[in-house]
Symmetry: C2
Subunit: 466 residues, 2 copies
């Protein structure tokens, strides 16, 4: 993968994930294979969220009056909101915004729903499309004008402490999720100048793409009481007093799908984690003139045995060369291929071939379901280890600004440094080496700030970002 | 149900289906319970379509230039399209429409996808939100400005005959679907002045709501070559000639959910078909001081046995009166309630109570899974029979215009009549008795038109419509 950007563009087309020829900039079509991948990736998240969140669905359109209510928030989005001004040939009395995110759609309703402390905590989520009029260069799944797969959760609590705990819970949810996708990440507290508009603070997950740029793949915001004040979300506590609620929200987008594709892929194409691959196993019969029907019969019965165990299996019985099939399924990232030919039949065995490391080995058909299960597990953990090792090798500690600049330019990746945590100093760093401070990875004592040399308060990360 | 309109409004609120207080007219919030019902109703459709359609996802926004390309089509929608004119503070070079339906979003891409006869038939579908600036009185799920649950399928074929066959297949798909929802329907060929803008002809499913008005719940369009011409969807046939494709499209909306609620509901609230009820069975322990834990234990083990069989079960072990629980679950339409008390324990039995007809009976716990399965089947067929019988009793044949007017005014429902099939005559009928002709139910010879007295060519239906 010499040029990630080109590789990414090509694989989206070749593996039929996205068609980027749709005639509106930054908006794309999900093709059948891409849609299935998106569905599997989404299902895992929904299964986790469904444990203790209710799924809901809010309208797309937000009246200008509601969007404008929370001043800090609207300021963060006003440059990139799409506005509807006309219904048919009629000019609307009030402009309608396409949601850039749903705080201002949801919170007026939360104010109606939350009356008593017994209504709390309120935890809901929705998966929707959101819109941003991006002026920067757009790129499918990474920087788009229609985010098709935004999963946003919103919660209301009765105390500040509970809201803080919810932030931690959300971080645990996203860790569990990314682990199932074998995606590595760093978690930082975003600098104050880069937090979500209206939030008290923002925690963010970033991963490092193969070109060394960091990609924000998830954020968790503690909203404090800012929106509760604006939208009057109050509840009666057990003592009969009316109090303002505390809120959090957290979200993920199409970028998770971009990461699964980009982080695991290689020169042969996609390499998908078993949990999300639309087909986990492809069975390829090796057919010569003799025993053709017998081989096919065995493949069919193997398929049905594996499906009974819950695996997603495809039998590729097309009349084309096996090599062409291998090429196609490798490109589409199917984790495991099983080949059965006449000689395997004789030995009552099959050949298993792993997409992640190319390993091939023979397995007895009598206990093939167990063998497959173990192999898929091994693939997941190998993919995870490999991806983490690669990411960690791309995070380098530096002692000073010059070294940071060199590392960013020559070795790419993410830079770790001791920092005073001061806003003015942070903005100077960003300006001087033209990169973004991702945020604070951990608080710490001792050491000096690598830029202003005052006392360091934390370990922070900086990177070229998407 | 003396006033259906009021009943419908109240049940959406009481059963927590929709919150209609969202501050944009005709746009509503799906509440958790409603969202689950929507999901189950949608899943059944998707499972049917997935057999031989690929799921895709197209952008929401359509450039004005594409929407305007097909003249007849845009004329049908131009009064009700929402227009985006600004991105941020910037005026867009070209206005963008919120899709009212997706022909003009999809077909420019189809022109790129379809090259050869081997690419055909192409069959895709998507579930999306669509928008119509309705000027009539809006009503949740029935007449809305944001249709949140539009499932639209689009196909391309190489011959006219295949497209006609696809129309028949789509009708079979919708029949199968509505049967699982126990919804009765009439199928007609819409009059030419009421077909889909751009279609050769439109087949439609209507049901009759409790107030006697008909509700269109599904349409299937044969598009012929109209759009293929406009968007240049051509393919190379086996002889090497370039030919225009033939197209169909068919869709369903939130109205299917409205019908499930409206057709089956009664004065106690929702009554949901087992196939789509988010909870199919609710278990209510009858607890007195003695044997409380034993009863609960039995309820828990029953829940887990039923869940193993694939049923969606809820155990209501809240510490409130059983009567209040019954009321709530009846209102929410759960098809089957199972009660277990100390006396049932002694007899190793449970009491089953059906939501559809109120029947209560005792069943032995040893074979309760079979009993439950049979009872749910019986509930579905009873609901279906009842709904069909009611609908059929609301379709009345008449001999003349005066009789039709009387029937519509006094007995409501749908009127069946012999018709010449002539457009001029049809429009006169609609004007004179101020109802809509749904369409032609079947072609037939003999008889005379009930209005113009010329030779009848068909049996047609008319009704007050939603």
């Amino acid at each position: 993968m010499t040029d990630f950007s080109e590789w990414f563009h090509d694989i989206l087309e070749e593996a039929e994930i996205i068609d980027s020829r749709y005639p509106v900039k930054g908006m794309h079509v999900w093709l059948p294979h891409g849609f299935q991948l998106r569905k599997e990736i989404l299902n895992i998240l929904k299964n986790i969220l469904d444990r203790d969140h209710d799924e809901v669905l809010f309208p797309l359109l937000i009246p200008e009056g509601e969007l404008a209510k929370e001043g800090i928030h609207v300021k963060g989005f006003e440059d990139e909101v799409y506005w509807i001004t006309h219904g048919g040939l009629t000019e609307l009395n009030q402009k309608l915004a396409l949601r850039p995110t749903s705080e201002t759609a949801m919170y007026p309703m939360f104010a109606l729903w939350v009356r008593s402390h017994t209504d709390l905590p309120l935890k809901v989520y929705q998966t929707v499309n959101t819109f941003r009029y991006e002026t920067k260069h757009t790129r499918p799944l990474i920087r788009v004008r229609e985010i098709t797969t935004f999963t946003e959760a919103h919660t209301v609590h009765s105390t500040r402490k509970e809201a803080e705990e919810q932030v931690e819970k959300a971080i645990e949810i996203y860790k569990e999720y990314f682990d199932m996708l074998a995606l590595p990440y760093v978690i930082t507290r975003r600098p104050v100048w880069d937090k979500f508009p209206g939030a008290d603070y923002t925690m963010a997950f970033d991963t490092i793409m193969p070109d060394g740029k960091s990609l924000q793949i998830g954020t968790v915001h503690n909203l404090g009481q800012t929106f509760a004040k604006t939208f009057e979300i109050t509840f009666e506590n057990p003592e009969g007093d009316h109090k303002l609620g505390y809120q959090t929200c957290y979200g993920l987008s199409d970028r998770v799908i971009a990461s699964v594709i980009g982080i695991h892929g290689d020169d042969s194409g996609l390499c998908l984690p078993p949990a999300v691959s639309p087909k986990q196993i492809v069975i390829v019969p090796i057919i010569f003139k003799k025993k053709g029907e017998e081989v096919l019969e065995k493949c069919r019965s193997l398929k049905s045995s594996l499906e009974k165990e819950g695996f997603r299996v495809h039998l590729d019985d097309r009349d084309i060369r096996a090599g062409k099939k291998y090429y196609e399924w490798e490109m589409r990232g199917v984790p495991l291929r099983i080949e059965i030919g006449p000689r395997d039949l004789e030995k009552n065995s099959a050949v298993l071939s792993r997409r992640d490391n190319g390993e091939k080995f023979s397995a007895n058909l009598d206990n093939i379901c167990d063998e497959v299960e173990n192999t898929l597990k091994s693939i997941t953990s190998h993919m995870k280890e490999k991806a983490w090792a690669k990411m960690n090798s791309n995070i380098r500690p530096v002692e000073g600004l010059e070294e940071a600049r060199d590392e960013i330019e020559n070795n790419k990746g993410v830079i770790s440094f001791d920092w005073c945590g001061n806003e003015e100093c942070g903005k100077e760093i960003e300006e001087k080496i033209r990169v973004d401070i991702l945020g604070v990875q951990k608080e710490e004592d001792g050491g000096v700030c690598f830029h202003c040399s005052s006392k360091a308060t934390c370990r922070a990360l900086l990177a070229r970002t998407y």
